[in-house]
């Protein structure tokens, strides 16, 4: 567990720049060369923005030449998931319906990392509108897992996870609605964090489910995840759901010792359905934490088994509303129809892929007259119960530890025949999504075939510090 030899970290980049061993321009060029070499087989990137990257790199090189202090992410090659708006850079959400969409503004999270000196290299592939668990729902082709090319990287942020795992970016943004940062992190073998709902501004994040969506970082180390989080967290007046809660020094918190911390282990997350190699690695991770002085606490989280059903009503209902805007009127694809409604129907019929259509219809059904109480309202109540499981757990422990994914990276095409099978890949991640709590996936070894396994750590709302602490302990164990 830990950084592969020779790979860049945020600190490594900064030290190399300060020591004038490399310029930001040169480093940027190095990464573009790597991308040119590996992206054809991985399909991690959908668009590159070298002009913007070079301009940013030149700015950093000027600071170095003038001996000025460098901002926290200076020179860091960064990739951005294609559901996040970047001014002047094509943003497709992995969909045909936005094939030529160029945003007129940057997402706040993008603005913040660029202000901190990061170099946005390009936009990464993802499941269409962030709907998927394998990156096989992209209109632009699947992404391959760099660890095993016949396997999926996970989803929906498969492109960002693959890019970082393959050394094509030092850090990347993903988004997580039901597991879409954590699960690809687990399948590709890198740390991947979903912050608390409201911790990071959603301004500029093209919405899937507004009460669930979160932006979060992938990196090659927990320290780097903490560093990026520190830059992007915090109140944004442009997002009224962003929380006005102080941002701690996550990097400093992450390296504190874990001795005496209470780690909650809920039996609902360790029932059948888990690959035995995953179970073995996750249990070994828990043993490592015990050796470091953590106290295990047995928990019951009785609504865990209802989370998938709840999620696929709440998220799809919100999606049916959020995706109503793609109608051919103001942006994106337009397919002509005999009248206005005909145009809407043909545009959406042609522009959306099957998974998106499935979810829109499910959501519309759950909200429709006669069904709203039975489905949507019911799901909102069960959501409250899932959240209550976490609130009660955190009266007894500091973090809850679970596997991230029941299985390691599966083969391309293996789960695409039955949508429900794919949905069940999210079984351990959606609970935290519904509750609003933060969660990280941290690598904890590999299966006998060499496939990465992720251990998930949930914390209380705005408890990223303790989540990062335990993750860091796993990484260095």
């Amino acid at each position: 567990m830990g950084v592969k030899n020779g790979e860049w970290t945020i600190r490594g980049v900064r030290e190399a720049l300060e020591g004038k061993r490399v310029s930001a321009r040169e480093l940027t060029q190095q990464f573009y060369s790597r991308i040119a070499q590996r992206n054809p087989e991985l399909n991690a990137f959908l668009a590159l923005c070298p002009e913007r990257a070079n301009a940013q790199a030149d700015g950093i090189d000027r600071l170095v030449a003038e001996g000025k202090p460098l901002p926290p992410l200076a020179g860091v090659p960064f990739a951005v998931k294609d559901v996040i708006s970047t001014r002047g850079v094509r943003t497709t959400c992995g969909s045909r319906i936005l094939e030529n969409h160029v945003p007129a503004y940057d997402a706040t999270a993008v603005e913040r990392i660029e202000q901190a000196g990061a170099i946005v290299l390009g936009k990464t592939n993802c499941d269409e509108f962030a709907m998927g668990s394998s990156n096989e729902n992209s209109a632009y082709g699947p992404v391959r897992n760099p660890v095993a090319l016949d396997r999926v990287p996970g989803g929906s942020s498969g492109g960002s996870a693959a890019a970082v795992a393959a050394g094509l970016a030092v850090a990347a943004f993903g988004t997580d609605t039901g597991g879409s940062i954590r699960q690809p992190g687990a399948l590709c073998g890198i740390p991947a964090m979903m912050p608390t709902y409201g911790r990071v501004s959603r301004y500029g994040l093209i919405a899937f489910a507004s009460s669930l969506d979160r932006i979060g970082p992938f990196a090659t180390t927990v320290a780097d995840v903490a560093a990026v989080l520190g830059v992007i967290a915090g109140r944004d007046p442009l997002d009224s759901t962003s929380a006005n809660v102080a941002v701690p020094d996550y990097a400093a918190e992450a390296s504190k010792p874990v001795s005496g911390m209470r780690i909650g282990i809920a039996k609902e997350y360790f029932a059948e359905g888990m690959d035995p190699a995953v179970r073995q690695r996750v249990e070994a991770g828990i043993e490592a934490l015990k050796r470091l002085g953590c106290q295990p606490v047995e928990l019951r989280m009785p609504h865990t088994g209802y989370a998938i059903a709840t999620y696929y009503i709440v998220a799809t209902a919100e999606a049916s509303s959020n995706l109503a805007r793609y109608d051919g009127v103001r942006y994106g694809l337009r397919v002509d129809g005999s009248d206005l409604r005909g145009m809407y129907k043909k545009t959406r019929g042609a522009g959306f892929g099957p998974e998106v259509k499935r979810r829109i219809m499910l959501g519309a059904y759950a909200l429709s007259a006669g069904y709203y109480h039975a489905y949507y309202l019911k799901a909102q109540k069960v959501r409250a119960l899932v959240a209550r499981d976490f609130l009660e757990a955190f009266t007894k422990c500091d973090v809850v530890v679970t596997p991230t994914s029941p299985v390691p990276a599966f083969r391309l095409g293996e789960r695409t025949a039955d949508p429900l099978q794919m949905y069940l890949a999210d079984i351990y991640t959606v609970t935290g999504s519904l509750a609003g709590v933060p969660g990280i996936s941290v690598p904890c070894g590999t299966t006998p075939e060499g496939l990465p396994v992720g251990l998930q750590i949930f914390g209380p709302h705005f408890g990223e510090a303790q989540v990062l602490r335990v993750a860091h302990a796993i990484e260095t164990a």
């Binding site: 059903a309 994106g332 059904y365």
Partner: protein, 114 residues
């Protein structure tokens, strides 16, 4: 079977989705299977549970705010225009399928009988 062909057609109409005949049956079967799975929520008695409507459950410390000038809800601001200004219209219209500044042009809306 929970979901009929008519249900799918009705929902597709609500969602402004044009589907082929083959798609209607494929989605019907898939949505039926998903809705059957979702039935398990009925195992839970939620009569006395308050629905969770947003991203954060009730009772969570989420807003530690300075009260500014007596304003009660700091998530709201004065309803006055801020940046960007009118220049954003250029950028936005540039991406439109059929712009006619300052409008987005669309097919005629035809009155439907019924």
């Amino acid at each position: 079977m929970k979901l009929s062909r008519d249900d799918v057609l009705r929902v597709a109409e609500l969602a402004h989705l044009e589907l082929t005949e083959a798609e209607v049956e494929t989605y019907r079967a898939q949505l039926d299977s998903i809705l059957t799975y979702i039935e398990k929520l009925n195992e839970l008695d939620t009569a006395r549970v308050e629905p969770m409507a947003g991203g954060t459950p009730a009772g969570v410390r989420g807003q530690e705010v300075e009260r500014s000038g007596g304003q009660e809800n700091p998530a709201l601001r004065e309803d006055t225009p801020g940046p960007p200004g009118a220049e954003i219209a250029e950028a936005v219209l540039k991406g439109a399928p059929d712009p006619s500044k300052p409008y987005f042009r669309v097919p005629k809306v035809i009155e439907r009988e019924s």
